[in-house]
C-alpha cells in the first residue's frame, strides 16, 4: 500500500490500538485468582509431589493465578466431591476417576470445555469425556492394565512367561515353591470392592464379556461371564493369592520382592517400581493372559459449574492440554497415557523396560464403565462381585451365582 499520510496515520492509530489492547487485557487479568484443584493423587507418596510441581509451572505463565491443592484421601474422594457439588460447593477443578466424572457430568455439575481445548490434537483417551453430546472433561491420565512379574523370581524358578490362565497358575506355583514368595497378587475381597471390580473387568473383558447385549439390556450371566468367574476361581483355588491382604499390602510385598506375578495398572506398577528394594529393571510386563484386550482406569479433569473462576480455570485447562502442560505432565506421569499423544520419555523407558508393554496395550483397552449404565456401574458390579465372592468363598456354582445376580440386576436397574 502506498505510504500516504493517511495510511500512515491509520497505521499508527492501529498500532496504538493494538498496543493498548494487550495492555488493557493484561491490566484486567491482573486481579489475583486462586484455583482450587482437588485430586486424591496429591496424597500419593511418590507421585503427588511430582504431579503438583508439574501443574505449578502454570503459575509462571499466568502469575496472577495461584493454584491451591485440595487433597482428599482416595477412599473418600467420590463421596466428598459428590456431596460438596450437590450442595453447591466444591473445588474449581476436579481430577476424578471415570465413574465419578460420569456421574457428576450427568448431574450437570461440570462446565463444557470444548472451547478451552479448541485446536488441540486430542487422542482417543478423551472420547469418554463427552457426556450427553458435550465435552465436559479432558483426559488427565489413562492407566492401562497388564500382567507384571518379577523377572528374577521367574528366572530362578525356571518358569515361562504365561500367556494364558493355566500358564499363569503353573508359573505362579513354580515361583512359590522355589522361593517361598507369593505367586500371584490380586484383589479378592469385598473390603477392596471399589478397586476389585475395576480389576475384575480385565478378566471379564479378557473372556469377551459385554455386560450389556446389543439391545442395551444388562446381561450379567452370559457364558463368557461364567467363564471369567470360573477362571478367577481356578486361580484362587490354586493357592497362589495371599488371601486376606489388601492391594496396598500386596504392592508393598511386591516391592519387597516377595511377589511373582500381578495384574496391575501402570500407576500401581510405577509405585511398585519405585522406592523399594525391587529394581525397576527387574520388573517386567507382558500382555494379560486372556484372549481379548483388558481394561484401563481413566482419570478426567473437569471444571465445576459452581466455580467462581470458570474463565481462569478454562485458561488453565488450555495450558494443560497444550504442549507445555502436556510435557510437564508427561514427566510426572511415568507410563500413563495422556490427553495428547506424547510418548513416554526416553529416560523413563530406559530405567523402566516394562513401560513399553503398557503403551502397546493402551491402544485397545476398554473402559471399566458399562456402556449405557455408566452411572450405575458400581452397584451393578457389586452384584457381580458378590456372585464372585460366593463362588470363591462358599464354593457356589458360577452359573447359578451369576444367574442370581442377573435376576437382581434386572429387578433393580
Amino acid at each position: 500500500m502506498m505510504l500516504t499520510r493517511r495510511s500512515l496515520v491509520s497505521a499508527f492509530a492501529f498500532a496504538g490500538l493494538t498496543s493498548t489492547v494487550p495492555a488493557a487485557y493484561a491490566q484486567a487479568q491482573k486481579a489475583p485468582v486462586t484455583l482450587v484443584i482437588a485430586n486424591s493423587q496429591w496424597l500419593d507418596a511418590l507421585r503427588g509431589k511430582n504431579l503438583w510441581a508439574a501443574l505449578v509451572k502454570y503459575q509462571q505463565v499466568a502469575p496472577h493465578v495461584t493454584l491451591k491443592q485440595e487433597a482428599i484421601p482416595s477412599a473418600d474422594f467420590n463421596d466428598k466431591i459428590t456431596t460438596a457439588l450437590g450442595a453447591g460447593q466444591g473445588p474449581d477443578i476436579a481430577i476424578m476417576q471415570e465413574g465419578l466424572f460420569y456421574s457428576i457430568a450427568d448431574a450437570g455439575f461440570l462446565v463444557e470445555v470444548e472451547k478451552a481445548v479448541e485446536g488441540v490434537k486430542l487422542n482417543g483417551t478423551n472420547d469418554k469425556g463427552i457426556v450427553k453430546g458435550k465435552r465436559f472433561g479432558i483426559a488427565w491420565q489413562r492407566a492401562v492394565y497388564a500382567l507384571i512379574y518379577n523377572n528374577k523370581l521367574l528366572e530362578a524358578a525356571g518358569a515361562a512367561v504365561p500367556t494364558d490362565i493355566d500358564g499363569l497358575i503353573a508359573a505362579a506355583k513354580a515361583v512359590q515353591s522355589k522361593s517361598g514368595a507369593i505367586g500371584f497378587s490380586s484383589r479378592h475381597q469385598m473390603a477392596d470392592f471399589s478397586g476389585w471390580f475395576m480389576d475384575f473387568q480385565n478378566w471379564a473383558f479378557g473372556y469377551g464379556v459385554n455386560w450389556v447385549d446389543g439391545a442395551g439390556k444388562l446381561t450379567l450371566n452370559t457364558p463368557e461371564a461364567v467363564a471369567a468367574v470360573a477362571a478367577f476361581k481356578k486361580v484362587y483355588d490354586a493357592g497362589v493369592i495371599p488371601v486376606g491382604d489388601d492391594m496396598p499390602t500386596q504392592r508393598m510385598r511386591f516391592k519387597q520382592r516377595q511377589v511373582g506375578f500381578s495384574i496391575d495398572n501402570s500407576g500401581g506398577t510405577l509405585n511398585i517400581a519405585s522406592g523399594g528394594p525391587l529394581s525397576s529393571t527387574d520388573l517386567r510386563a507382558t500382555p494379560l493372559p486372556f484372549k481379548n484386550p483388558g481394561a484401563h482406569q481413566q482419570i478426567f479433569i473437569g471444571i465445576s459449574r459452581h466455580s467462581k473462576n470458570q474463565a481462569e480455570a478454562a485458561a488453565f485447562l488450555t495450558w494443560l492440554a497444550g504442549p507445555d502442560g502436556q510435557q510437564a505432565l508427561r514427566e510426572a506421569s511415568g507410563p500413563d497415557a495422556l490427553a495428547t499423544d506424547l510418548p513416554v520419555t526416553e529416560s523413563f523407558r530406559a530405567t523402566n523396560p516394562w513401560a513399553d508393554v503398557f503403551a502397546e496395550l493402551a491402544v485397545n483397552s476398554r473402559s471399566t464403565l458399562i456402556p449405557g449404565y455408566e452411572i450405575k456401574t458400581a452397584p451393578i458390579m457389586r452384584l457381580v462381585m458378590e456372585a464372585l465372592e460366593k463362588v470363591i468363598v462358599a464354593g457356589a456354582n458360577p452359573k447359578t451365582a451369576l444367574d442370581e445376580a442377573q435376576k437382581q440386576a434386572l429387578a433393580r436397574f
Binding site: A71, P73, D76, T83, Q89, M252
Partner: protein, 274 residues
C-alpha cells in the same frame, strides 16, 4: 471392691492389661520395624529403638503437630459444649417435674442411634447456610450433638443419686437454682463429670466422617483425617502410620489422666464424708 483378695485381682488385671495393651504394643513394635521385616514375615516382636530416628523424621515430614492441635481444638470444643448443655439438661431431667420430660429423654436417646452418614447431607447444606463449613468450631458443634445426650444421661444418673436434702437447705436460703447447680451439685458429681468429659473428648478426637467432609483446607485436618491420608491408593507405609497413630492416641489418654487425678483428688480430700 473388697470382695476380691489381692492375688486373683492382680492376675485378672494382668490379663486385662495384656488384652487391652497388645494392640498398642504391637503398634509400637510395627512402628519401629523395617518395611522389609514387616512384609517378609520377619517382624521382630519387640520395638527396635534403633529405628526411632527414621520413624521420627518420617513423622516430621507431615504436619503431625498441626493435626494434633486441630484435633485438640475440636475435642475441647466438643467437650465444653457437651458438658455445659449436658449439665443443664441432666440436672433438669433429674430434679424438675415438667411436661414433656419423658419425651425429651426419649429424644435424647434417639440421637444415639443416628449414624453420622444419615444426617451428613442435610447437615452439610445447613453448615453452608450457617457459614460453618471448613471451620473447626463447626465440627465441634456437630460432634457435640452426639456427645451431649450421653453427657446428659450420665449427669442425670449422677444427680439422681444425690439426696434432695443437700439442695433443700440451699433452696430454703433462696439460692437460685443455677447457683445450686454450679456450686453444690456439680462438685458432688465430679467423677461423672469427668467420665462425661472423657467420653465427649474422645468422641471429638476420633471423629472422622464430618471432619473429612466439612473441611477443605489441609491445614485444618485433625489427626483422624491426617492418619487416613496415609492410606494411599497404592501403598500404606505401615511403620509410619503406626508411629503417627501412637502419637495421636497419647493426648487423649493424657487428658483422661489429668482430669481423673485432679477431680478425684479433690473429691476424696474430705467433701462428702458426714
Amino acid at each position: 471392691m473388697n470382695h476380691l483378695s489381692k492375688l486373683p485381682r492382680f492376675l485378672l488385671l494382668g490379663i486385662l492389661a495384656v488384652l487391652a495393651g497388645l494392640p498398642v504394643y504391637w503398634m509400637a513394635t510395627t512402628a519401629l520395624s523395617d518395611e522389609s521385616q514387616l512384609y517378609m514375615n520377619r517382624q521382630v516382636p519387640w520395638p527396635q529403638i534403633g529405628n526411632l530416628g527414621s520413624l521420627l523424621s518420617a513423622i516430621a515430614a507431615v504436619p503431625a503437630g498441626r493435626w494434633m492441635v486441630n484435633s485438640l481444638i475440636i475435642a475441647t470444643g466438643t467437650t465444653v459444649v457437651s458438658l455445659l448443655l449436658g449439665s443443664l439438661a441432666g440436672y433438669a431431667l433429674s430434679r424438675f417435674r415438667f411436661q414433656g420430660r419423658g419425651f425429651i429423654g426419649f429424644l435424647l436417646f434417639m440421637t444415639q442411634v443416628v449414624p453420622e452418614a444419615l444426617i451428613l447431607v442435610p447437615l452439610y447444606a445447613m453448615f453452608i447456610t450457617l457459614g460453618l463449613l471448613n471451620d473447626l468450631a463447626g465440627l465441634a458443634l456437630a460432634n457435640a450433638a452426639f456427645s451431649l445426650p450421653v453427657a446428659t444421661f450420665i449427669i442425670k444418673g449422677a444427680v439422681d443419686t444425690i439426696p434432695h436434702e443437700i439442695e433443700e437447705s440451699a433452696l430454703i436460703d433462696n439460692c437460685p437454682r443455677f447457683g445450686i447447680l454450679t456450686m453444690i451439685v456439680l462438685p458432688l458429681i465430679a467423677p461423672s463429670l469427668a467420665a462425661a468429659a472423657v467420653i465427649a473428648f474422645f468422641a471429638g478426637w476420633n471423629e472422622y466422617l464430618f471432619a473429612s467432609t466439612f473441611l477443605m483446607d489441609r491445614g485444618l485436618w485433625p489427626a483422624s483425617v491426617g492418619l487416613a491420608s496415609f492410606i494411599g491408593q497404592y501403598e500404606t507405609p505401615l511403620s509410619v502410620v503406626m508411629g503417627t497413630a501412637l502419637l495421636f492416641s497419647l493426648p487423649a489418654i493424657t487428658f483422661f489422666l489429668i482430669i481423673q487425678r485432679r477431680i478425684v483428688a479433690g473429691l476424696t480430700s474430705g467433701a462428702v464424708k458426714g
